[in-house]
């Protein structure tokens, strides 16, 4: 509910905002200008919103002020603020989009990149307001399409920044906002065109971009590589994001690890339990334990226990495929037990013994299926040796019978 405010106070607050706007533009103070657009994130602007709802004729003040030349921007910003304060989120978005478009027109005309910070705030706000507007639309049974619109606007902004001048360093931030939109909407394929621009256009030098934006970019593109099961590329990108992420940003580190851990597991690298505990990624505890133990039952149980979470994050299929490494570990354990009993015969494992071990794990597999699994492990170089069908035995190589992945994915 808007706090009570006198007309005089309301007038003062509106005039103050207009003065700040004019001062920021005339002194090319990007930081100060950016603060004037933080509708959803700056609580001090609420007082301005209350003032606008009290005074009701802000347009007159705008016309009389030095900021009148920026009325095309300020009038809709005011409307967006008022609507946001009154919880009319769709109206707020529509007004802000109008303001944003007007701002971009001015931005194009400013030669230097002084207003880049303000543009980035606008890019952020338009996404947030669009998300909230879509929630409101969905709640009244209407089709949510504002976030899609925000995406179109940001593509336009990207085009404005994709030039030779100093404004180009803002392109990665806008790209990251686009990624967030596309991931939210499930239209991830739309990321391709911006990725292509960032990675192939000669005007962009990745090292020039701000560190924070590079981390976010590598996080999202790393996630795309995870979905496509391109593990070396996923490892490179997510590891970059992890290495360059501020150690104080624990929530961000957790987000990166959520995808990096399945990638590392797929290339044979296991995390310490302390890492999983520190960043509250305990859903991976039993997956890691299953890999260490060769416990297929535990792997399947872990996948079932956190099935929805793994499906939502898109790593379920990656984790499921770890089964082959679990089989490898199980057979290796049998080999090590046999080696303790009789080193000369350790390298010969009867398929029936593997059937029994799996039965003990409550996995009902017949000897044909075990032979099939063994043949796959040999074919994919997770085991070295051969299997003798008639004798129903697998004979392991005496040299390195269970090759490590060593940072490479299982042969496909």
């Amino acid at each position: 509910m808007a706090a009570y405010m006198s007309m005089g106070e309301a007038h003062r607050r509106i005039a103050e905002y207009l003065n700040r706007f004019y001062d920021a533009v005339s002194s090319q103070d990007g930081k100060s200008l950016s603060r004037l657009f933080s509708i959803s994130s700056d609580s001090s602007l609420q007082f301005l919103a209350d003032a606008l709802n009290t005074f009701q004729d802000a347009n007159r003040i705008i016309r009389q002020s030095e900021s009148s030349q920026y009325a095309d921007i300020i009038v809709p910003v005011f409307r967006a603020l008022q609507s946001y304060r009154l919880r009319n989120l769709v109206e707020s978005y529509l007004a802000f989009e109008k303001a944003a478009n007007a701002f971009v027109q001015e931005f194009r005309n400013w030669e230097s990149a002084w207003a880049l910070e303000a543009l980035c705030v606008i890019a952020y706000e338009i996404r947030i307001l669009a998300e909230r507007a879509d929630k409101e639309l969905a709640s009244i049974g209407k089709s949510p399409e504002k976030l899609k619109g925000a995406g179109s606007f940001l593509m336009k902004v990207f085009g404005v920044l994709a030039g030779k001048g100093p404004k180009r360093v803002g392109a990665l931030y806008v790209t990251c906002q686009l990624f967030k939109i596309y991931f939210k909407l499930g239209t991830v394929h739309l990321c391709r065109s911006v990725i292509r621009s960032i990675e192939t256009a000669r005007i962009f030098d990745f090292e020039e971009f701000p560190a924070r934006d590079k981390v976010t970019y590598m996080y999202y593109t790393g996630r795309l590589e995870v979905y496509n099961e391109n593990f070396p590329a996923a490892d490179h990108k997510l590891s970059y994001a992890l290495t360059h992420c501020s150690p104080l940003k624990e929530a961000n580190i957790r987000m990166i690890l959520k995808y990096l851990i399945p990638v590392k597991l797929s290339i044979g690298i296991l995390p310490w339990n302390s890492l999983l505990d520190k960043f509250n990624l305990t859903e991976y505890n039993n997956v890691v334990l299953a890999l260490k133990r060769g416990d297929l039952r535990l792997l399947r149980h872990a996948l079932e226990e956190h099935e929805d979470r793994f499906l939502r994050s898109g790593v379920y299929l990656v984790l499921e495929k770890l089964e082959l490494q679990v089989y490898q570990r199980l057979i290796k354990k049998i080999y090590l037990i046999q080696k303790q009993k009789d080193p000369n015969k350790a390298h010969q494992i009867k398929l029936d013994v593997i059937v029994k071990a799996l039965k003990w794990l409550e996995m009902d597999m017949d000897v044909d299926e075990v032979e099939c699994i063994v043949s796959i492990l040999i074919y994919k170089n997770l085991m070295k040796g051969y299997f003798a069908h008639k004798s129903k035995v697998v004979v392991l190589s005496k040299q390195d019978p269970f090759p490590r992945l060593n940072g490479k994915p299982v042969t496909s």
Partner: protein, 197 residues
């Protein structure tokens, strides 16, 4: 199959556009299972299945039809040729089988690659046993071996596949319908029921 994929995509959009909270439509799980089976091979995935699964309602993911499709997907991805063929024969509906059928020759070729690469050369693999596992006529299996460039021989009892440790994967030079069909009374019965409709 491409048309089926497009039709399914349109259908899913319609489901989403008309979805009431916490509800699914009568045959929705079945149609989702077809989508999974159409995308067993990652090469023909526009959007990866991992991405697609993110937006499928959990109740559909846990349906009988989707659990079947997800198991087939798991077997395919792991290369578990034995279970893929066995489970398809035992549980697939006729339309599910029709979709899976186009992957059968590929999974059979994988089986041959594995047996050829990992088998003991002094104990060649009997084609009779392999044809039972792969649910195909022995003569078709022999023909598939030849088409894949693999050597067979006779050991006095029957035909065997020689293990020559070929490192390249087997790909039949020609796509024959006979390499795709499963020899199965249950599936023949299903086909007959469909043709009576």
């Amino acid at each position: 199959m491409e048309q089926l994929t497009k039709a399914l995509t349109s259908l899913f959009n319609l489901y989403e556009a008309n979805r009431a909270p916490h509800s699914i439509y009568k045959d929705e799980a079945e149609f989702h299972s077809y989508y999974v089976l159409l995308h067993l091979c990652s090469d023909n995935q526009g959007e990866s299945l991992s991405l697609w699964f993110r937006h499928v309602p959990f109740v559909i993911m846990k349906s009988k039809e989707m659990c079947f499709a997800r198991r087939i997907l798991r077997f395919f991805r792991l290369g578990n040729y034995k279970q893929l063929i066995y489970t398809t024969e035992a549980e697939a509906s006729y339309l599910q089988y029709c979709i899976i059928e186009r992957y059968i020759s590929e999974i059979r070729a994988l089986a041959l690659s594995c047996v050829n690469y990992g088998g003991y050369k002094l104990q060649p693999y009997p084609l009779t046993h392999l044809s039972n596992l792969l649910m195909m006529q022995e003569s078709d299996l022999e023909s598939l071996c030849v088409d894949c460039g693999l050597q067979t021989s006779s050991d006095g009892i029957g035909k065997v596949l020689l293990s020559t440790k070929l490192t390249s994967s087997c790909n039949p030079k020609r796509e024959y319908q006979k390499y795709c069909e499963l020899v199965s009374e249950r599936l023949e019965r299903l086909a007959a029921e469909v043709s009576e409709l």
